[in-house]
Structures are given as C-alpha cells and as structure tokens.
Amino acid sequence: MRLKTFAMFVGPSLVLMLIFIAAPLVMVLWNSFHVTKPLYERVEVETCVPGFPKPTCSTSVKQQPILDEDGKLATETSFVGLDSYRNVLELGRLRSALSDWDWNAANNIEFWQALRFTVVFTLLTMPMVVGTGLLIALAVNSTLASIRGPVIFISLLPFIITPVIGALAIRWLFIGDGILTAALEWWTGHDIAMFAQGWTIEILMYLYRVWHVAPFAFVVFYAGLQGVNQDAIEAAIIDGASRFDRLRYIVVPHLMPLIVFVMLIHLMDAYRVFEEIVGFSSQAYVISLQWLTYDLLIPDEAGTRSISRASASAMLTMIGIIVLLIIPLRRTWRDRRGTH
C-alpha cells in the first residue's frame, strides 16, 4: 500500500486524535508551566464619616482587581517553571514525613495518598481479575452445555451495568446498617461500619472492581478456550499428564496472548480509577490520581479553577501510566524486531 493511500485511510482518525488527544496534551503541558492570575492593584481609599465640626476621615489601602476595557477581570499569565509541580508534589512535606518515619503524615499529602492508592489498586486487582476470570471460564467450559447460556448471561451482568450504578448497588448493601453489614455484624458479633475508615472502603473498592471486570476477562478467556488444540490435550493424556499438568502446560500457554491482552487493558483501566471514588463517596478517606486532577479542576469557593496545578497533576498521572506501560510495551517492541 502506497503512503498516499495509507494516509487517506488513516487520515480522518489521525486528525481526530491529533486535535482531541495530542493537542490537549500539549495544552496541558503548557498550562502546567504557566499560571494565570487576576491582576490586583493597591488603591488608597479615603472614607469620611460626617461629624462636627469637620468630618472624620481615614485612609486605608485596599487590594482591588483591575478591570480591562470590556469590564472583565484583567489577568496575567506568567511562566512559573516547575512551581506547579512543586505545589502538587509537596516534596518538602514528604521529606520531613519520611525522615520522621511518619507514615500518616506522608499519607496526608494528597498527591502521594492518591498515587499510593492508584498503584496498589492497579497491581492488586490485576491478578485477582485474571484469576477469577480464568476460574469462571474453566468452570463454565466444563459444565453442562444446556445451562451454559444462562450462566454466561448472568456472569455478564456486572460488566454490562453502568459503573456508577454498580458501585451504588454495592454501597447500598453495606452502608449504615445495610443488609450485608447487618449480616456481618450478626456473624462476628461486633459493631461494623464499613464506610467509617479508609481500609474497609478500599477493600470494598477492590472487590467491586474485580466483580465488575472479571466478566470481561471471563468472556475473553472463554472464547480462547474454544480454540485449545484437542490433539495436544490427547497427546498429553497419553503421556500421562494430570489434569493440572494439562492446564499448566497446554491451556495456559495457549491463553497467554489473551492473558497479556486482559492484563494490559486492565492496567490502563484500573490506573484511571474514578467511578469507585464517586460511587462510594470516599474522597474523605481514599482518593485516586484521576480524582485529584478532577478535584483541582472544579471551581473552589471563590469560583477559580486551579488549572495549572490540575495540569501538573495530570502530567504526573500521565508519566505514571507510561512508566507502568514500559514493561509490556518493551515486549511488543522485541517481538516486532524479532519478526523483522
């Protein structure tokens, strides 16, 4: 295919991605190095109170925003270098917290708290999702053919449902004296409040994510299981391989590309965890990197959006996902060079 034809096929998609993904990225990068502030001027104001024999006057100095010709706030954009990054990272606080071995102080810095949760969330749920998906796929594949249809349908329910609604459904089961909390209390004999401390919320979030994503892994693996080479299985049986050996040496290697695919997709999706924070309203205890950017973006009480801090946090988030992606991508790169 000549370059011109290739360009015509890929062009529209490329233009869309350039305008709506690459350009905003450049904007974010630029914003993260600049700060836009409204301009203020100092004005001396003389206020007089009527009095006798002459009015009592006092002068005070006031900060007053400057208006431009259109009557809007005049703003000034200046280059601040890495200041926004410093504001987000708060390295000084982190260093003093770490030198005191004070885990809680380090965890109170928003960015590090978000980073800690996001990374743990991503790396912890990944094996759980792959494992659960594989187990369900194997179980469905070996059950009676007549009940497979309904079982697949039920299994897909958590995946089809909208994430925020799914999170709310789980939340209502546990919040206050929700029936599952009540059941746990009855079982353990303790008073339990699932939403009163960070770690219980975190556990619920992990469980929710596995519940939500495992069906996707299951569908992918189940499709892969249909293509397992039966001759290889028979040969393994003749060679005396046990069930577990067959799984270990034939089925799993056959599924390996799909496992890598699911892990890659999950890595990307789990890293931008956001719905759980909103659905569980957990921002007081647990926040994620994406939620931090969002929080910086929405207007505060004064109505200003801290765009440059949000941009800095967004850039740091992006650097994080690229670091996480390097390992799988290096593999693809090596495969690519191998085939050439």
């Binding site: 295919m1 709506f20 990225l25 299994s155 789980i170 719905e275 973006l297 967004a314």
Partner: protein
C-alpha cells in the same frame, strides 16, 4: 459414545467446579437483583437491615400499596402465557402476514404491536380485573408484598428522565456511527500496511488509550469555556460556546474512543486474508473500491462487535 474411565472427571472436581459457578452467579446477580427489589419499596423498607423487610416491604404495604398473592399468581401466569405466545405464535403470524421481502418491517410491526398489547394487559387490564376480584378472594386477596412504582414515576416524569435518556441515546448513536466509520477506514489501513510508521502509530494510539480522561479534560476545559471568544474571529458573532453541547461531547468521545476502536478493528481486519483484496485489485479495483465491495461485506460481524464495545463506554458517561 462412552468416555473412557481415565478421561472422566472425578466427582469432587465436578462438584467443586459447579459449586464455584453457582457461588459466582449468586455474587454476580445479587447486587443487581437487590437494587431492583429496593427500587420498588419506600426508602424506609429499602434500607431496612432485615432482608425480609426489604423483600416483603411492610411499610410500603402499610401505605396500601402492594400485591396480593392472587395478583402475583395471576401476573406470573399472564407473563408465562405472553412469553409462550411471543416465542411460538408470533413468528408464524409475522411470516404469514408480512409481504414478500419486507420481513424486517413485518417483524418490527409485529413486535411493536405485541409489546403494546402486552403492556396494556399487564398494567391496565390486570390491575383493574384484580381490584374487582380481590375482595371476594379472602386471605388470598389481601396484600402480601409491598410494592410501589412511585420512584419510577418520579424519575421518569418529574425529573425529566426521558430527556436525559434521549440525550444519552443521541450521543451514543452519534458516537457509534462516527467511531465505526472513521475507525474501520483506519483499522483497514493499519492492518494492510506493514511499515514502521503503522507500528508506531499503533503504539502511540495505545499510549493515548491509557491516558486518564481527566488529563484530557484538563486540556479541554480552558479552551471549551472560552471557545466562543476563540472562534469569534473565524465564525463571527454566531460562535458557539462548546461547553456542554451534545455534538461537542460526541466528537470528543469519538476521539477518545478512537485508539481502542482502531486496535480492535485492526485485529479483525488482520484475520481476513489479504489474498481477498489482492484478488479484487488484480480485477482492477482501487484500494477504496476493494475495501467497500470486497472487504466490508465480510467485516460486518467485526464491525458490530466493535460497535458493542464502543457503546457502553458512552452510555456510562
């Protein structure tokens, strides 16, 4: 054909595997079923800590809203009859009455008609008939299960859910159509070109796929809010503010979805043998003509799958 003994699954394994499956199905379905049950109760019943109170809804029943045993039995019977009719009788009727070559239209009319009749029977005829019958049925006619549809009415009518629903549908339809059109072209181009350029484009698309959306929102927001000022020199006084407009949402979502769409469609195109378009090219087709006349007809399953994967991402926003 009997399975040799050495190949038969041991009983424990079958039990464990099926037990796990039952357990998983319970976990998968329970929250969703439960939230459905809760949606039919008053808040007091819905958040009760006793599960039986949630199911039976004593407070909801106390307000005079509920179903009697006789009503439940009648409702289930009617549902069963309707499902049987829909599966057995309807296809024959549609085939008999729809004109030649208009099967799809016939199905549409048939299903629509059947659906309306079923809804009228279920929500108008059945309650009316049962309210007459209930007083004569004694204990069977007394309310046993608290049930209220007030929340559905509140959401659909008072909160204007129809409008939100319409917006969601509009955006979804727009996103799926545009994504697939642009995505199939790009997917085909990438699948048929083995150059380094195509490889690097795919890797960059993968990195774009991984970007958290808030990274992009941080880039869009300042531009979108000020867009009418920025666009005024080009478009004049009619320059729109993009913030919160459906078509702005559509185009942004299409772009955000692009990386995933082209990756998926590319792998589908990979599975179609390249000999097919080579044959078309030998017969004198241009690349576009070969794509349109030869490749697309065998690609529909892949395109539909990709569409299915695009749409939930959209609906969930």
């Amino acid at each position: 054909m009997s399975v040799p003994r050495s190949l038969r699954r041991p009983l424990q394994l079958t039990l464990i595997s099926n037990g796990f499956l039952v357990f998983w199905c319970l976990i998968a379905a329970f929250p969703i079923v439960w939230i459905t049950v809760m949606s039919f109760k008053t808040p007091f019943d819905a958040f009760s800590s006793n599960p039986f109170n949630v199911i039976l809804g004593p407070e909801t029943r106390g307000l005079g809203l509920g179903l009697s045993l006789a009503e439940i039995v009648a409702g289930l019977a009617l549902a069963w009859v309707l499902i049987r009719l829909g599966l057995k009788w309807l296809p024959g009727q549609v085939r008999k009455y729809s004109p030649q070559g208009m099967g799809a239209l016939g199905w549409l009319v048939g299903v629509l008609f059947f659906g309306i009749v079923a809804l009228v029977l279920f929500f108008a005829v059945l309650p009316a008939a049962m309210s007459v019958l209930n007083p004569f049925l004694g204990p069977l006619g007394r309310d046993a299960l608290g049930l209220t549809t007030e929340h559905y009415e509140a959401v659909w009518i008072d909160r204007n859910f129809t409008r939100n629903f319409g917006n969601s549908m509009l955006v979804t339809a727009g996103v799926v159509t545009i994504s697939l059109t642009v995505g199939t072209l790009a997917g085909y181009g990438l699948a048929r070109s083995g150059t380094d350029l195509a490889f690097w484009l795919l890797i960059i698309a993968l990195i774009f796929r991984a970007l958290p959306h808030s990274v992009l929102v941080a880039g869009y927001l300042p531009v979108f809010i000020k867009s009418s000022e920025i666009l005024r020199p080009i478009l004049g006084e009619a320059a729109p503010t993009l913030y919160g407009k459906p078509w702005a949402v559509i185009i942004v979502l299409v772009s955000i979805n692009q990386p995933f769409t082209i990756w998926m469609l590319r792998s589908f195109f990979h599975n179609i043998p390249a000999e097919l378009d080579e044959a078309a090219r030998v017969d004198g087709c241009s690349h576009f003509k070969a794509f349109r006349l030869v490749i697309m007809p065998v690609m529909w399953p892949g395109v539909i799958t990709a569409g299915l994967f695009c749409s939930p991402i959209t609906i969930s926003l």
